[in-house]
């Protein structure tokens, strides 16, 4: 089995349209460093999930989408909530519709009509998942795409399980078997879903470290800790997102934010906060307005929750 070499420099994907406000989740832009590239390569080589740690806004989730674009693979994502169970990532059963059909006297067959494939089913076997999704498609929703793939058309896929620390403690461990053995069985129908090592997905799991993850789970992951980028790397991220902007304008905003937060800050500014500020400055200038820096930085950077070891002084 030959794994593709993950090389973002040689396989740079075409840039999509400029992103609108908010977090960019289309994987259009990503600034790598050697550690990130090596971590993805090791995860691909070992077939282990890549667990990405780091504070919010430092590029954990967008790494998965961009990696899928570099590899030209399919891409699926599932954002975990406190109610998410491991099975939701494999398959879901529409019990309510089944009950409605039973009460209407139109219940025929078993569960097949009520089972929706989850992200791992799509990643393991997209043809089988498509057949199942077609079987469970409601009658009033004929037509339209069923495959939630957000990436290219490829036999392999990248799966993002976002913010796994939001789930109950059992969820990570319950995912170990399907992700490790590359197969699971749908309980209601007994249908096996599996893939081969040669077609195994790259699984990217993110955590904000809000909750400790089980040791058994950690042992089976390749771990990458992303630090909040600062200095030149932060500027490079801004340049990639705003290629039309002048470097000195971007540097001006980055410097003002760094000075406002202070070098001693316990929470340095995240790329997401820098990009928000740049976007705000750009829009104000487009309207012929000059930003009132103190007010602007209070809104974009000095939000509730940020603490500083030394009180920062906003630049004039």
């Amino acid at each position: 089995m030959t794994e593709p070499l993950f090389d973002p420099e040689k396989n740079t994907p075409a840039k999509p349209a400029p992103a609108g406000p908010g977090d960019r989740r289309d994987g259009g832009v990503y600034v790598y460093d050697d550690q990130i590239i090596l971590a993805v390569r090791v995860a691909l080589a070992t077939g282990r999930p890549l667990l990405v740690r780091g504070p919010s806004g430092c590029g954990k989730s967008s790494l998965a989408r961009h990696a899928a674009r570099v590899l030209r693979w399919r891409y699926y994502e599932k954002v975990v909530t406190s109610r998410t169970q491991a099975q939701d990532l494999l398959w879901e059963v529409d019990h309510l519709r089944r009950l409605q059909d039973a009460q209407a006297g139109s219940l025929r067959g078993g569960y097949q009509k009520y089972i929706r494939p989850g992200v791992f089913w799509w990643a393991f076997d997209n043809r089988g998942a498509a057949e199942q999704a077609e079987r469970s498609r409601p009658d009033d929703r004929a037509g339209g795409a069923l495959d939630p793939n957000l990436g290219d058309d490829h036999e392999r896929a990248v799966v993002l399980v976002d913010e796994i620390d939001k789930a109950d403690p059992d969820v990570p461990n319950n995912l170990l078997v399907p992700v490790g053995s590359l197969e699971f069985q749908v309980e209601e129908t007994g249908e096996p879903v599996k893939t081969t090592r040669a077609r195994a997905p790259l699984v990217v799991i993110t955590t904000n470290d809000e909750r400790e993850l089980p040791a058994a789970f950690l042992r089976r992951c390749v771990e990458l800790k992303l630090e909040v980028p600062r200095g030149d790397r932060l500027l490079k991220i801004a340049q990639e997102h705003f290629p039309e902007a002048k470097e000195k304008d971007l540097k001006d905003v980055a410097d003002r934010i760094e000075k406002a937060v202070g070098t001693e800050s316990a929470e340095p500014p995240s790329p997401a906060e820098l990009l928000d500020t740049i976007r705000a400055v750009r829009d104000l200038k487009d309207q012929g307005l000059e930003p009132a820096w103190e007010d602007l930085l209070r809104i974009t950077v000095w939000k509730h929750g940020r603490t500083a070891k030394t009180p920062a002084k906003t630049p004039e």
Partner: protein
């Protein structure tokens, strides 16, 4: 080579075969991602490992100097038949004020306090009260409440349909969850001083298990009804209502329920804890207490008002499940449709 786990070596071999790093530094970097730390020979002078961080210990409180003479206040007599279980709040007239319950011994006036620590001797590492490998499971089991997030409850569904009851939502089997978060109450009474470090350790473990944003931690002394809060005691509020969590949130108390005594410790009558547990029960919040003393010393009958768990090396997740069942049931059936 350190920290080797069984799956790490095959992973490393696979990664090295595929990636073929050019030098030792590259191999070490790949090994690190596989969970294996490889010490490379230093290029010049050996690097000294950083010294371990000093253990922070709160400075000792100044010794309490008792006033001269008998300091006991007059104690009103208890009513015949003792305190009623039915009282909602314990009226102050029924609770003797034992603030200074003993006369100070003579030797206390002459004894010299220990010299201040100069930091030259590091305190030994304290073994946690719960077995570290089990702590996560114990805490998860003791804070989990039941929610209707489990598999379909076919029996209940069929029973309802057979009776012609229209279902507004699909009945599911109860499933333990930590999604409701937790309110942690830490008893800062002097009687708990020997367990102060244990309290800090377990609070950190609780935050790690339930999530930092989902765990609210408040201090109290003796009984939460007397005042709770964060920061210095002067800022605590006597009105617990302000801090009362939403219905369904479990409350975990790290306390001795008044078992520990000592000079200057305000005794806590079990009735005060019973009243507090009743108050939480009416608010829909189950109360669990971790007690660092043997069950033989637990106040009799309090086990009917709140869940008491031993805070000791012998405690396991099974101990907790035996005491609480699959998870905490919410008072008033808040976890049932």
């Amino acid at each position: 080579m350190t920290g080797l786990v069984p799956s790490a070596l095959p992973d490393l071999l696979r990664a090295l075969t595929v990636l073929r790093p050019a030098d030792d530094a590259g191999k070490a970097a790949v090994a690190r991602f596989c969970g294996i730390e490889v010490a490379l020979p230093a290029p010049s002078e050996p690097v000294k490992p950083p010294p371990p961080p000093p253990i922070q210990i709160d400075p000792p409180k100044p010794p309490i100097v008792p006033p001269a003479g008998d300091i006991r206040p007059p104690v009103p007599a208890l009513p015949e038949g003792g305190l009623s279980d039915q009282v909602e709040e314990v009226p102050s007239v029924l609770v003797p004020d034992y603030t200074e319950s003993r006369q100070a011994p003579d030797w206390l006036e002459t004894v010299e306090p220990f010299p201040e620590a100069d930091g030259s001797i590091a305190a030994p590492v304290l073994e946690p009260l719960l077995v570290p490998q089990w702590a996560r499971g114990i805490l998860a089991a003791s804070m989990a409440t039941l929610s209707e997030a489990g598999t379909l409850d076919v029996e209940r569904l069929v029973r309802g349909i057979a009776r012609g009851i229209p279902w507004r939502r699909i009945p599911r089997r109860p499933w333990p969850t930590l999604a409701r978060g937790v309110l942690v109450l830490v008893d800062r009474s002097d009687a708990l001083l020997p367990f102060a470090v244990d309290q800090e350790q377990i609070v950190e473990q609780i935050r790690a298990v339930v999530g930092r944003d989902s765990a609210q931690v408040l201090d109290f002394e003796g009984n939460p009804s007397w005042g709770v809060g964060t920061g210095s005691q002067e800022e605590w509020e006597e009105d617990f209502e302000r801090w009362r969590p939403p219905a369904g949130t479990p409350v975990l108390a790290l306390t001795d329920l008044g078992i520990g005594t000592g000079y200057g410790v305000r005794p806590v009558h079990p009735a005060a804890w019973r009243a507090f547990a009743d108050r939480l029960r009416r608010a829909g919040c189950p109360l669990v207490a971790f007690i660092p003393y043997a069950p033989e010393r637990w106040p009799a009958d309090l086990g009917r008002a709140l869940h008491i768990l031993p805070w000791d090396r012998g405690t396991s997740a099974r101990t907790v499940r035996r005491a609480l069942g699959k998870a905490l049931r919410l008072p008033g059936g808040g976890d049932r449709p």
